[in-house]
Structures are given as structure tokens and as C-alpha cells.
Symmetry: none
């Protein structure tokens, strides 16, 4: 019997360590050594789980996405207020989620010039749009949103807003407390009513 280790769980632990480091210093400055130290292992260990640095970064973002999915799974969007809560859940409120947003921004930027990263990014964007559309459809069916509204267009508008706000907020966290983010979200959702 080998040393007993849940391979997938270990991968997640390492991915999480990588996320922490990326949030702190950025993908551009990421060193495997740092990740290893954060995870309490050696760089050699990282190679068991990830063939190279790029794979580690991609796995880290995938992990982040999956963790978010789990958290959101329980949120049911049955009203505009639910949607509001849902969107606030995406924004950098608090340390943890600010860190997540930083990782995402790093990854998206990486995706601008890295094919593999872009494929991953593209896939998760599609899921995100689809879900938002579903929510909007539900609300439209309930009459909370005008039947004339172009839902896909609104979904993309919301995404642009959330991404844009998130970026602003992590670049200047002091200027963007939860209240100000909420106001922007409210202001935007107003037009759907």
C-alpha cells in the first residue's frame, strides 16, 4: 500500500495554495517555490500533480471556479432581489473574494495571450452567460422583467458591469466598499424592472 493520499484532494490543496500566492504576487511573478512553501511541500511534489507551471495555474483557476459553483449551487434566483444577491456574491467583498477576483483577473489577462488558458476561460464564460440567461428567463416568466427585454443582451451587460466593477474594486479597494458596489448593482438592475 502506498502512502495513503487522496490524489484529487491533494491537487485541490495545492491549487488552493497556488491561488493564495497568485492573489498575493500575481501570475507574472509566480514561482513554484512560493507555492510549495505555501503548501508546505517541495517543488518536486508539485510535479507529481501538475506537469508544469501553466498546468498548475490553469488547475488553480479551475479549482476556484468549482469552489464558486458549489457556493452558488444553493442560491435560487426567483426574484430580482435574488439576482442582486447573486451578483453581489461575484464581487470582491471581503478578503476572500477580493483574492478570488485578483486571481481571475490575472487569469483572464493570461488568457489574452495563452491559448490553453483562453480555452478554459471561454468555457467558464459560456456557463456563466447561460446561467444568467436562465435566471433572467425565470424572472421574465414571472413578469419581473419586461417581455420586450433582450435577455442575452442584458446578461452580457450585467457581466460587463460585474467584471468592470470587480476590476475597479480590487484596484482601489478603499474606494469600493460593499455599499458602493451594491449601489452600482442596484442602479443597473433598476432598468430591468
Amino acid at each position: 500500500m502506498p502512502r495513503i493520499v487522496d490524489h484529487d484532494k491533494r491537487r485541490e490543496e495545492l491549487a488552493e495554495a497556488a491561488c493564495k500566492v497568485i492573489a498575493k504576487i500575481g501570475v507574472g511573478n509566480l514561482r513554484l517555490m512560493d507555492v510549495a512553501r505555501q503548501a508546505g511541500c517541495t517543488t518536486g511534489t508539485l510535479q507529481h500533480y501538475f506537469p508544469n507551471k501553466q498546468a498548475l495555474v490553469i488547475a488553480s483557476v479551475t479549482y476556484l471556479t468549482e469552489r464558486l459553483e458549489k457556493n452558488l449551487k444553493n442560491l435560487h434566483v426567483a426574484s430580482l432581489d435574488d439576482l442582486r444577491a447573486y451578483l453581489l456574491e461575484m464581487l470582491p467583498i471581503g478578503r476572500r473574494r477580493s483574492a478570488d477576483v485578483v486571481v481571475w483577473l490575472n487569469f483572464w489577462t493570461m488568457a489574452l495571450t495563452d491559448k490553453d488558458a483562453r480555452a478554459v476561460q471561454s468555457e467558464s464564460h459560456k456557463i456563466w452567460v447561460r446561467r444568467l440567461c436562465e435566471y433572467l428567463e425565470t424572472l421574465q416568466a414571472q413578469g419581473e422583467i419586461s417581455s420586450k427585454t433582450d435577455l442575452l443582451q442584458e446578461a452580457e451587460a450585467i457581466i460587463a458591469l460585474v467584471d468592470g466593477l470587480a476590476m475597479r474594486a480590487v484596484l482601489d479597494p478603499k474606494e469600493w466598499p460593499k455599499s458602493r458596489l451594491s449601489e452600482q448593482v442596484d442602479l443597473h438592475l433598476e432598468r430591468l424592472r
Copy 2:
């Protein structure tokens, strides 16, 4: 005097070369060698104009910003339509501006974890907000925008939208032709009328 002019001009040429390379491969992968090749000189030459790599990157973004300023100097915003045109000028329409946006995104992400970059980013954001507010004030004075509107809030909303759209558009250019970007801008400006 002429020497100085040449010197500054050369700096700009080098900065432009750096922008091209960043747009192609990202700041994270930027090598001075690549910039030198793109500029048709050697890495040694770069040292005459920039003390180090970071300075080159910052100078490149500064150059980009100044170039944009020049282009926008002639745009006078005297109506919502002017504002619309102005915003479209920020979005990645065409090769050139797409490349610019890629550079900016790279720089903003860099600013997340690099103090110097953040200072530069912060400064140019302030200018950008201030100008937008001025425009909105003008429009409000002319009655194109309701007097009840919170202009700063709207300015930030516009910036979030533009940043968010720009990011989406460069990540998936095929899905974001000019027409679709215009629609989003129009949809947003609607609420100001």
C-alpha cells in the same frame, strides 16, 4: 535641443515597440530581447532610454495613454451622441485599439500587485473619471441628463461598463464586432436620457 527631441522620439518608438510585443505575448512573457528586435535595436540600446524593464513597461503604458489623449483632444462632448462616440473610441474596435486594450489589461493586472504600476494606473483613472464627470455635467447643464442624476455614480458605471466590455471583447473578438459593442453602449446611455 534637437538632441533632446530625438531622444524623446526614440523613447516613444521604443515604447511603441514594447506595446506591440506586450499585445502579442503579454507582460508576463515580455523579454527585452523581443522589444529590441521589434524596435530594430539591441537590448543594450534599451538601457540608454530606460533604467530597467519595469520602467520600460510603465513608459509604454504612459505612451499609450498620451497617444489616446491626443486622439481624444479633438472630440468635444456636447451631446449624448458625442459621449457615445467618445466611449466607442475607448473600446477595442479594429486591430490597433484591440492591441491597446490588451496592453492596458495587462498593465492593470500588473498594477494589482505592483506598487509603481498601481500609482500610474490610479492617476490615469482619476483623470478619466474627472473628464467623464465634466462631460456629464455639461450634458446635465444642457438638460440632456436629468438633474437628479448622481453624476459621479454614473461616471463610474460607465467606466465599469467600458472596462468590462473591453475585456470581454478582446477575450472573444469574434463575438464582439463594433455593432454589438455599440448596442451595449446605447443600451446603457438610454438610462441617462
Copy 3:
């Protein structure tokens, strides 16, 4: 006792796996991982049978030599034609023997700069010379070879020819089908008649 037999058999299996890998990628690129995969076990298993990598390589060549011995045991050299058949048996004809030759060449080259390998190589060369001399003596006794011939010298000439041909043949297999190898052997044996 049966344990021991199994143990030796397993060693041979592992040695054979190592030979296959060496033939494919060369000793220089040999990784225990590859051998383990080829053998359907793990690197840990290899440690039970071989104290280290070098020992595995040497054992592999030893295994190869012993396998060849077994095959040749049945060949009796009682005429020049028998000698011819015997020599052809050494040459890279067919996949299996080409692979064997590749392993040997790898090992010989390794022996150029590795003491342990050289000792093994030297030993097996001596055996090979001695046997060839015996064969030639038999033939000389039978009058198939002139009594004036310096048998040791001829034995070494034959070995040089076989080694040289073998090397050429594995470096350029398409140019060296069985027929061409046979011709060279025949041309050489001619002078003994």
C-alpha cells in the same frame, strides 16, 4: 526455492523491459519511470530487484548476452558455412535483433566512460573472442582454413567487421537488408578459404 526462481524470473522480465526502453530512447535518456511503465510496475518495484539505475542497465545487458548465449548454444560450427550462419546471427536482421544491437551499442558507448560497464563489456568480449578462435581452430584442423593463418588476428578482424557492420546497419536499416549484410560477411570469409 520457488520464491527464488520467481525472483530471478521477475528480474529478467524487468531487464527485458529495460532493454526495450533503451532500444527506443537510448541509455542516456533512460528513466526508471519508463522502465516501470513498460514492465507494468512502479519505480518502487524496480528497487527491490536492482539497487540503482546503473545496476539495472548492467543487468539488462547481461540478460541480453545470456539470451544470446542460449540461442547460440545450439549452433555448432563445423564448417565455414556454419561460421557464416553464426555471424549472421549477430547482425541486426529483423526487429528483435536490431533492438538488441542498439542496446549493445549504447552499452559499449557507456563502457567508454563507465568503469563497471567496461568490466562487463570486457568480460563478454573475451568470451566472444575465445569462442571465435575455437571455431577457427576447428576449421583449421579440418583444413577449411590455411594452416598459416593467424587465427587470433582473423578473429579480431571478424569481430571488427561484425561490430562495424552492425553499427552501420542500425544507423541506416533501410540501406542494410539481410542480403547486403550477408554479402559483406561472404566477402570477408572468402579470404579464409
Copy 4:
């Protein structure tokens, strides 16, 4: 003006250093550090001249070949004795040429499993065969060799002999002084008369 260096000459110096190291420890154990130390530079310097280790090895053998070419350029083969002298020039007689042969054997073995190396090896073999054929033709025209002889076949036979002898001689230098190598060459050339 840059530090004045003859780029090609520097490459040769580094290649020569690599040859020395390979002759001592084999390609399999070759470390760039060793080459750098031998050449009196750093590993970084090696990268200016060779993109990677493989390229360095290939360049080294190419250098070796070219050096041999220069030495042989002056040898004119107008008689069997000249041919004999020519062949002896290929064999590992003396430190220098023994080292060369070791490098070649290492390279040929590398060529067994490395495409790039094989291409180089193949090319230099062709040249070597062609030249030998020319020599044999000359001798045949002069009547020193029977007109019935298949020259290509004899050329390949000679090459096999030389390669095989060279390998034996470097594996067991004490057993293979110049005299013994000469005898083998003489014995072989006998059949051409």
C-alpha cells in the same frame, strides 16, 4: 562597437571544449557546467552560441568532422599505400585521435535514438563513403585494384572495418597499439591487391 569577438571562432572554441568533456565523461553525463568550466566561461555564455545542449553536441561533432576534413584535405590517395595511410589517420592512434573516436562513438550512439543527430551522422557518412569510392576508383584506374572489384561494396567493408576496429581500440586501448591496428588494415587491404 561591441566587445570584439569572432563569433564563429568562439563557437569553435566552445565546441572544442565540449568535445574534450564528452571524450572524458561521455555525452550521457555531459553537463553544460563542465563545458563552461573547460571553456573558461559560464553556462550563460554557452546559450549565446547554442540554443540548447543538443545543439551544442551536434555542433561539437560537426566541428570535429570539419577539423578532420582539413587535416585530410592534404592527403592525396594515389596508391594503396596512400589509402593505408589515410585509413590509419581515422583510427585512434594517440591521445588526440582516441578522444575524437570516443566523441564519434558517443554521437553515433546518440544518433540511434535522436533524429537531429541522425541526420547529421547520415550526411557525414555519405561524404565519407563517396570519398572512399573515389579513391578506390583512382586505384582501380591505375590497375592497383582488380577491375572486377565492386568498389562500393569494398568501401563499405573498409568503413565497417575501420569503425569496428576503432571501437575495439578505444574500449581496450592497451590491447590496440598502432602496430596492431596497422596489421589489421594491411590484412584487409591485401584482398584488394
